[in-house]
């Protein structure tokens, strides 16, 4: 029934999904796991606080890919963090500038920021220019974001999402403003740039953990536990496979290729 060569992947996916669902049900029954600290996410409140003290705005970007893109989960992770950042900005009456490169993300981001201000009871403080759509051209976006950060003297730059070659332009441009920088991405090729140009950087799956970490929602925390269990299983398969290969048995390789 299942295509040859994809059987292992299929059953792994089924097992993984079943584990996630089981852990979610367990969490809803009150057995929520705890999660290790993520300094990058803890620093967001500090960054917004610093911006508040300095009377300067916070810049936020959820990356440069659209919601239909294969890297859209990174954009969604960024949007979850945007919701948190917008709430903090609303609570502390801090300025917020969200720059967006993709039109579909713009519509969603606008809704998120507006909602966050309403929920904090500060609906009247929301301004449409808190979310700005900048044309869908990669480097034009990068240049515009750097320009905005310099002109508006942002005190904090938070960028969580998928990035490409413009990542260094935006983060280094942000660093030159002297503000605190918190970045995150699962686009591995851009991580070195983000790491050297930021104060805090969330790497890989850490950005997917962001919404669970910030919301402390038990069901989302359960999914993080599932991710860690899956990671442990992956490591176990790799170690067993390597040891068996060293002893001349390719059983694990054949299983994976089945």
């Amino acid at each position: 029934m299942i295509l040859q060569g994809k059987q292992f992947s299929f059953w792994t996916l089924v097992l993984l999904s079943a584990t996630f669902i089981y852990l979610i049900i367990r969490a809803r029954q009150g057995k929520a796991p705890s999660i290790r600290r993520l300094p990058g996410l803890d620093a967001i409140e500090e960054a917004v606080g610093r911006a508040t003290e300095m009377g300067r705005p916070v810049h936020f970007s959820p990356g440069i890919v659209e919601l239909t893109h294969e890297r859209a989960p990174q954009t969604l992770a960024g949007l979850s963090v945007l919701s948190y950042v917008a709430s903090l900005c609303a609570k502390y009456d801090t300025g917020l500038v969200t720059t967006i490169m993709k039109p579909d993300v713009y519509v969603v981001a606008e809704d998120i920021v507006k909602n966050a201000f309403l929920v904090e009871g500060k609906g009247e403080r929301y301004r449409p220019d808190m979310v700005r759509f900048i044309g869908a051209e990669q480097f034009a976006y990068g240049a515009a974001a750097v320009g905005i950060m310099h002109r508006e003297k942002v005190a904090a730059n938070i960028m969580i999402g998928a990035w490409y070659a413009e990542s260094l332009m935006v983060t280094e441009g942000g660093a030159q403003t002297g503000g605190i920088q918190i970045t995150g991405s699962a686009t591995v090729a851009q991580l070195p740039f983000l790491v050297i140009a930021s104060d805090y950087c969330l790497m890989g799956e850490e950005i997917y953990a962001a919404s669970a970490y910030l919301s402390k929602d038990p069901t989302q925390l359960a999914v993080i536990l599932g991710q860690d269990l899956a990671k442990a299983a992956t490591i176990a398969i790799m170690v067993v496979g390597a040891v068996l290969l060293a002893f001349g048995s390719d059983v694990v390789v054949r299983l994976i290729n089945s």
Binding site: M1, L3, K6, S9, L13, L16, S17, F20, I21, I24, E66, L67, T68, P73, L76, A77, L79, S80, S83, Y84, K102, P103, D104, V108, E110, D111, I112, N115, F133, G135, A136, E137, Q138, F139, A140, A143, A165, L168, E172, A175, A186, V188, I196, A197, M203, G204, E205, Y208, A209, S211, L214, S215, T219, Q220, V223, I224, G226, A230, K231, T234
Partner: protein, 206 residues
């Protein structure tokens, strides 16, 4: 109801696409092909939505006579010009090619090239041997810099060999680890989205 319907649509479409990857069942494959065609059409519409959005925002700026009006005028003017040339002369025409090569391509390449300056200033700022991590970053950076440019091999064959080793062994190992972690993160995001625990794509935040 307002958020349940989109969640159900997302889950059903997602599951069909996953099954299409694994199962050689004609009805599933046909449905996936249909959904892929819809995806292509929706993506094309999203581009149109972007153009309308951009036009709306910048005509608003022009109408209000804001400070940045000049840039908005430039943007709207070049947008209309490109649309007219594309529609009436075709995207294969010499005029369209002229606009593309001499304006868009030139401007984009210039901005891309400006990354060289950012690399220089980032390297100058960040590559400081303050601790062991700093030393590792610094030495690796120098070896890769020299190993990936022809001058490295002229100075010593050590640089390209060491650079290749760093890229093939420690770097690839690290990248694989991050990729696997991120892949698991994507699966967990999909489960959360399909079950309706993550609705950030509907603009509802947390």
């Amino acid at each position: 109801m307002k958020s349940t319907v989109p969640v159900v649509i997302t889950a059903v479409i997602g599951i069909v696409m996953i099954l299409d990857f694994f199962l050689p069942v004609q009805s599933v494959n046909n449905m996936a092909s249909l959904l892929q065609s819809w995806g292509i059409v929706i993506s094309a519409f999203a581009m149109g939505l972007g153009a309308v959005n951009l036009l709306r925002r910048h005509t608003g700026i022009i109408a209000k006579g804001e400070k940045s009006m000049l840039y908005s005028l430039l943007l709207v003017g070049s947008m209309i010009l490109t649309i007219i040339v594309g529609l009436f002369f075709g995207t294969g025409s010499k005029l369209y090619d002229f606009l593309f090569t001499n304006i868009l391509s030139a401007a984009s390449s210039t901005l891309y090239a400006s990354i060289a300056f950012y690399i220089l200033s980032a390297a100058y700022r960040a590559f400081v041997a303050k601790n062991l991590d700093g030393w590792i970053l610094l030495l690796t950076g120098v070896v890769i810099m020299l190993g990936t440019a022809p001058i490295g091999a002229v100075i010593s064959k050590f640089f390209p060999a060491a650079s290749q080793w760093i890229q093939d062994i420690p770097n690839t190992a690290g990248m694989r680890a991050i990729m696997m972690g991120a892949a698991l993160g994507v699966v967990s995001s999909a489960v959360k989205t399909f079950l309706g625990y993550d609705k950030s794509y509907l603009g509802q935040g947390e």
